[in-house]
């Protein structure tokens, strides 16, 4: 570390010099070449200029993609208007608070009864530190961010089929997995049974690394020890004075570690898109959409259900119905159109785009996902179990429990994320009426935290296939469908271009929606200006 410091500093001053003399973009290229900043495709705020006088763009959808487009194209000088199906801005950027009502498809209505200040983020709930485009707009709009705790070593991993159904602390599951794997590898190295030649010197280095990584003893064994307990936790932790002597814990056996399958969950937070640091807006994810909506004001026409999209040589016309007032269909017209309507809905709206784009719109299934928020009378996970934020994983259908990343140590109530599901579990949750989803989440959660039975008060749930304005959580591409259709859904078709998470390689993340919008309006603007 000490060796690296001067080199790092000299690199930093080099970047700064390049930045000053050659401009930000060149500096960025230089940094990326040296593998310093290649963590996002968002390089700098977009700055479109020179919209032809009087030219206009109609934007369909006031989610993040649509609002980014309206904001940036408006700044460039275009006359912009958004049509939005709902009565609020944000789209899937959304939080449910006490006093809200939510009616899902099928007419199932929920009156949300959370206490003031408590909420459920039904959709996006966390922002990785490298999602620079959405973070840029949070900063721009004055949306305050706080840390989102993704990984918590004090949270649990739970399986109904292992350890008698008793939840295990994340720290012990990871320590035992790393420890035993390190021990096995160390034996392989010592016996020279690696499947490739390794020099004697490298072997020694590797053994050292394995001992450190796995908390192995001097014989490269993973055993009950202070070192191992320093990873997996103590029966009696080190203390002060006469109470100081620690008592180490027994690792589970190798066989139990393997067969318990709890290791399936410890990789979850290693993925690039959930690596710490992550953020959340103070007061709920929906704060971003709200701030954007306020910024755009009258530009957004709410409660407008688009029923047809037509383009010709002169422009684009959207027909829409006012879902509150009803009446005859109305039209909105502009020279160009940025369409962010999810493909799940758009595939049902008549639109005269070319066959390749239509095929792309029709080729995208929408995934299932469901969440349940549970208000508890007290924050027992903190008070009783020392869990402050983070996620507990379970093999029950609710998949996980996430503890609030805010209001730590506050006396009183809190809202847990009691279920966050995808795949078949989400399909099954969706098929239940809302009150049954909540009851199931309570039932499963009580197997991990028995306090649920006493403390549960009220819940809220959103199953995305039942959401009236998306009919699904997110576009679910496969390698095959991407190869066949992705470029076509990105293309500018006459006067229409698509944007949204479904037009990105970061599906189901807000960053995908924002980056797709920036890419789409950049290309559209270029097309307009260059004719």
């Amino acid at each position: 570390m000490r060796d690296e410091l001067p080199a790092l500093m000299s690199r930093r001053s080099l970047f700064s010099m390049i930045g000053k003399t050659a401009g930000i973009a060149v500096m960025y290229e230089a940094m990326a070449t040296m593998a310093y900043a290649a963590d996002s495709t968002f390089r700098q705020p977009i700055a479109l200029t020179g919209a032809p006088k009087g030219s206009s763009v109609l934007i369909l959808g006031a989610g993040l993609a649509g609002m980014v487009a309206a904001y940036e194209l408006g700044k460039a000088g275009y006359k912009v208007q958004i049509l939005e199906y709902q009565g609020r801005p944000g789209g899937r950027n959304w939080s449910l608070y006490g006093g809200d009502t939510y009616t899902e498809l099928g007419g199932f209505k929920q009156n949300i009864e959370f206490d003031k200040g408590l909420y459920l983020n039904p959709g996006p709930w966390r922002i990785p530190h490298h999602h620079k485009a959405i973070l840029h707009y949070c900063q721009l709009l004055g949306v305050q961010l706080e840390p989102f705790i993704q990984i918590n070593y004090a949270a649990y991993v739970h399986s109904t089929k292992a350890f008698g159904g008793k939840p295990q602390r994340y720290r012990s599951v990871e320590a035992d997995f790393d420890g035993y794997v390190a021990e096995l590898l160390a034996k392989t190295v010592q016996q020279d049974k690696l499947d490739r030649p390794v020099t004697k010197e490298d072997r020694e280095i590797l053994l050292q690394a394995l001992r450190g990584w796995g908390a192995l003893d001097k014989n490269y064994a993973y055993v009950k020890s202070e070192d191992a307990s320093n990873r997996r936790g103590f029966d009696h932790p080190p203390g002060g004075g006469l109470d100081a002597m620690p008592t180490p814990t027994d690792p589970v056996s190798l066989e139990d570690m393997i067969r318990g399958r709890l290791w399936r969950s410890i990789g979850s937070s290693k993925a690039y898109d959930v690596q710490q640091t992550m953020f959340q807006p103070v007061g709920g994810m929906g704060m971003i959409g709200k701030a954007f909506g306020k910024e755009l004001g009258e530009i957004i026409r709410y409660n407008a259900k688009v029923t047809e999209i037509r383009q010709d040589k002169r422009g684009v016309t959207a027909t829409f119905v006012d879902t509150l007032k009803g009446g005859a269909p109305q039209t909105a017209h502009a020279d160009w159109c940025v369409c962010t309507i999810p493909a799940s809905v758009l595939s049902q709206i008549p639109i005269n785009v070319g066959a390749p784009m239509k095929a792309a719109i029709d080729a995208l299934p929408y995934a299932a996902s469901a969440k349940v928020g549970l208000q508890m009378k007290r924050r027992f996970w903190e008070e009783d179990e020392g869990i402050y934020g983070g996620i507990t994983y379970t093999d029950q259908p609710n998949s996980m429990i996430s503890y609030p990343s805010t209001d730590f140590f506050k006396r009183g109530k809190g809202v847990l994320l009691g279920a966050y599901t995808f795949g078949p579990n989400a399909v099954e949750f969706t098929a239940m009426p809302p009150e049954e989803r909540i009851a199931k989440a309570v039932e499963y959660g009580a197997n991990i935290h028995p306090q649920y039975r006493e403390e549960f008060e009220t819940g809220a749930t959103v199953a995305w296939h039942r959401v009236p304005w998306t009919l699904g959580c997110a576009g679910s591409w496969t390698e095959e469908t991407r190869a066949a259709h992705y470029n076509d859904i990105c293309a500018i078709d006459g006067r229409i271009v698509m944007a949204g998470e479904h037009v990105s390689m970061i599906p189901a993340w807000q960053e995908g929606a924002v980056l797709s919008s920036l890419d789409a309006i950049g290309r559209l603007h270029k097309r307009i200006v260059q004719g």
Partner: protein
């Protein structure tokens, strides 16, 4: 990373950690047509089979003339259709059962039935669903 013997041991975790686009070995334990319908299909097509309408719509199965052909729902389940994901992880027997249910219950009374052999013969057209793990 894949080439290293050392990394092989932790590779399964890396696979599980892949978020968007991860393949899940999904499946449903229900066997009767009614159970399959109430735990899967009614999420969108609704308990009464009448579908629902918001910004877009889910088609009704009750009274839907497309169900006259017993093979039509089989193909939709195997391949998916527009925004509807495929349900090709259902077994041949499960697809037979749920096809029978939606064609003869929910107020429907369409004649004829599919066999597991017919479903099997259409498997070549099945699309494997990519169980998206959202952010």
């Amino acid at each position: 990373m894949r080439g290293l013997g050392l990394a092989a041991a932790i590779a399964p975790i890396a696979i599980l950690a892949t978020s968007a686009g991860a393949q899940f070995a999904g499946g449903y334990r229900y066997q009767t047509g009614q159970d399959l319908y109430t735990h899967i299909c009614q999420g969108c097509h609704m308990p009464d089979g009448k579908g629902a309408t918001g910004a877009g719509a889910y088609p009704a199965l009750a009274g839907n003339p497309k169900l006259q052909s017993p093979l039509y729902p089989v193909l939709v389940m195997l391949k998916g259709q527009k925004a509807m994901p495929s349900f090709s992880e259902l077994s041949d027997a499960q697809i037979v059962e749920v096809t029978g249910y939606i064609r003869t219950k929910l107020g429907n009374n369409f004649p004829g039935a599919v066999t597991a052999e017919q479903v099997k013969a259409l498997r070549a057209q099945a699309v494997r669903q990519n169980a998206l793990r959202p952010g």
